[in-house]
């Protein structure tokens, strides 16, 4: 077995082509499940593997599948390929380089819950990626891996690509389902959860691209093999998206918990350090814009779900954005707040209004018109949003605000001092 479990295309040229994928063990897990395993056995194997959702929430995948009722039909599997978190570009690489592993994983999920259809919801900006994925799906149809009576069994399944049209919120699974039904992407009230009331009101499993790419090797090699990688609570491999002020940004696959932020940023086989001479890390964003930023003192935190949480943030989608000592933290927080204000769907008042007011305050801060009480005002707005919305976007939007104020409050003070100088100039 090579170095990679997920990014195998990096060592196998042309892996996106079906014949190459098959030559390297492709669709053997699919054959194994269909001919030698019951749907329940597939669920049990994934449960035993400890695989946790790679989209951000880290929920146990096998558990999610087991919530689907057996006696209600039709059922659906929806692949969440709406990758839109700032700093995240891992699902794109899987779909471009190793699309059949995603397709095979989605088929295994469909078989496990006995779904008759799979929809792959790809963000609209990934149109070129979606076309490559469609080509791979067409190849899999032609080879009999998808369609009626797959591989001579009595199981039939279909798979379609559905293109989104530009809305971060559709990465939230119930908003995604609304969008797939042709509506605006407003999150649903839960419960009921998609497992019982999902697409068209039918039982539905929604899984992230990277999550599903983990499934074929689990089914082929077994849960105990999978558990030899990663940690007890965070088993398996993970793709870390590294971006920001590093020499070599990119996707890096490593076992969960086996490398630290420092390894990822400075390691020879990873980021190779910061851009420019003599720079230091000021802050780390472990999960794009959505999880609290951490100061440089967190550099030696192992990259797994529990460790990053213990350090005061979340591993989430593991989209690590690095801010060096040249980066203005207030400006960075403004950029992230601006993102959430743009992407708030408008359904819940605290999020719709809160992101708007956060943005307004940051705009005057970065324009040099900050007021002495602005840090307290930002905290007050954030407190009125957190925990008061249907989906996590409202909470996410408070992360850059509260974490930057917690760790870098002094940088805000510099902006407030500018205010004191302005009236003096006016007087002069």
């Amino acid at each position: 077995m090579g170095r990679y479990i997920l990014l195998r295309h990096r060592e196998i040229p042309d892996l996106h082509r079906l014949e190459v994928y098959i030559r390297h063990g492709g669709y053997e897990a699919w054959r194994k499940a269909l001919t030698a395993m019951t749907p329940d056995q597939v669920i049990e194997e994934v449960k035993a593997s400890g695989l946790r959702g790679r989209g951000g929430a880290g929920f146990p995948t096998g558990m999610k599948w087991s919530f689907v009722p057996r006696d209600v039909f039709p059922k659906y599997v929806v692949v969440n390929a709406d990758e839109s978190e700032p700093g995240t570009f891992k699902d794109r690489e899987i779909m471009e380089g190793n699309p059949h592993q995603l397709i095979e994983g989605a088929l295994l999920a469909a078989y496990a819950i006995q779904a008759e259809r799979v929809y792959v919801y790809v963000r609209g900006e990934y149109r070129s990626v979606a076309r490559r994925l469609e080509a791979a799906i067409a190849e899999a149809y032609a080879a009999g891996f998808i369609g009626r009576n797959v591989l001579g069994t009595n199981y039939s399944v279909e798979m379609f690509v559905h293109l989104g049209a530009g809305a971060y919120i559709c990465g939230e699974e119930t908003a995604l389902l609304e969008s797939l039904e042709g509506k605006i992407g407003h999150p649903r009230v839960r419960p009921p959860f998609p497992a019982t009331y999902g697409l068209y009101g039918k039982p539905t499993v929604v899984n992230n691209v990277e999550t599903l790419a983990n499934v074929p090797p689990i089914i082929l090699n077994g849960a105990s093999w999978y558990r030899t990688m990663g940690t007890e609570k965070s088993p398996g491999p993970k793709i870390f998206c590294l971006s920001g002020r590093v020499r070599r940004p990119g996707n890096y696959e490593a076992e969960l918990g086996k490398i630290t932020f420092r390894d990822l940023i400075f390691g020879e086989e990873y980021g190779q350090g910061l851009i420019g001479e003599g720079r230091t890390v000021k802050a780390i964003l472990p999960a794009g814009a959505s999880a609290p930023m951490l100061p440089a003192s967190a550099l030696d935190t192992p990259l797994d779900y529990e460790s990053v949480q213990a350090a005061g943030s979340m591993l989430g989608s593991a989209s690590v954005i690095v801010l060096d000592d040249t980066v203005d933290i207030v400006w960075a927080a403004y950029k992230m707040v601006r993102f959430f204000q743009h992407e708030s769907c408008g359904k819940c008042t605290p999020c719709r209004e809160g992101t708007y007011w956060l943005r307004r305050v940051y705009e005057r801060l970065v324009a040099g018109r900050g007021r002495p009480k602005d840090p307290e005002l930002l905290e007050s707005i954030a407190r009125q949003m957190a925990g008061k919305t249907l989906c996590p976007l409202g909470d996410f939007a408070t992360s850059p605000v509260l974490s930057s104020l917690k760790h870098f409050r002094k940088e805000y003070e510099a902006y407030l001092h500018q205010v004191a100088e302005i009236p003096m100039e006016v007087q002069a």
């Binding site: 700032p86 995240t88 149109r127 070129s128 971060y168 969008s179 042709g182 992407g185 950029k335 993102f339």
Partner: protein, 158 residues
């Protein structure tokens, strides 16, 4: 009329879903391909095909950033200026594009050739700054790369 011109394509789209309403987004893409943007006529046709009210189709057009309810340039230039790209020069690239095209983000050049936009993260942070030209990725964009692409697009005679 979409239904005459694209009968087969529309049929293929509808056949993917158990509910016609799911075809709203794919059909709006078809409308934009045909008319350049989501025209009132196009919106009515989508409403008729899917059985959704025109108001609800308009709501969808308004919600998603990739649908336009007004004419845009023949080429859509979307520069990401979100945090990861901005850490690697995106704001400078936007300033360059603004000077080069003579329009601000959100505007279209007077000759109708280019619409310039700044957009949120497009998933190209490892090759930042990045942009999309007519939804195709252009990555590691320097001012020189930007100028060359604008020249190529200006020469295509469209």
């Amino acid at each position: 009329m979409l239904r005459e011109k694209y009968a087969q394509e529309i049929e293929a789209i509808l056949s993917k879903y158990p509910a016609k309403r799911s075809a709203v987004l794919p059909l709006l893409y078809l409308v934009q391909r045909e008319y350049g943007y989501c025209t009132e006529e196009g919106i009515r046709e989508v409403a008729e095909i899917t059985g959704v009210s025109p108001t609800e189709v308009r709501e969808v057009v308004g919600f998603y950033t990739l649908f336009y309810d007004h004419p845009i340039g023949r080429h859509l230039i979307q520069i990401c200026d979100d945090l990861p790209c901005a850490l690697r020069g995106a704001d400078e690239l936007v300033a360059h594009a603004t000077r080069r095209l003579g329009v601000r983000p959100g505007e279209t050049t007077p000759d109708g050739r280019f619409t310039l936009e700044t957009v949120m993260c497009i998933g190209a942070c490892h090759r930042a700054p990045a942009m999309q030209v007519d939804l195709e990725f252009v990555e590691n964009v320097t001012p020189e790369v930007f100028d060359r692409i604008m020249e190529d697009l200006s020469r295509d005679g469209m």
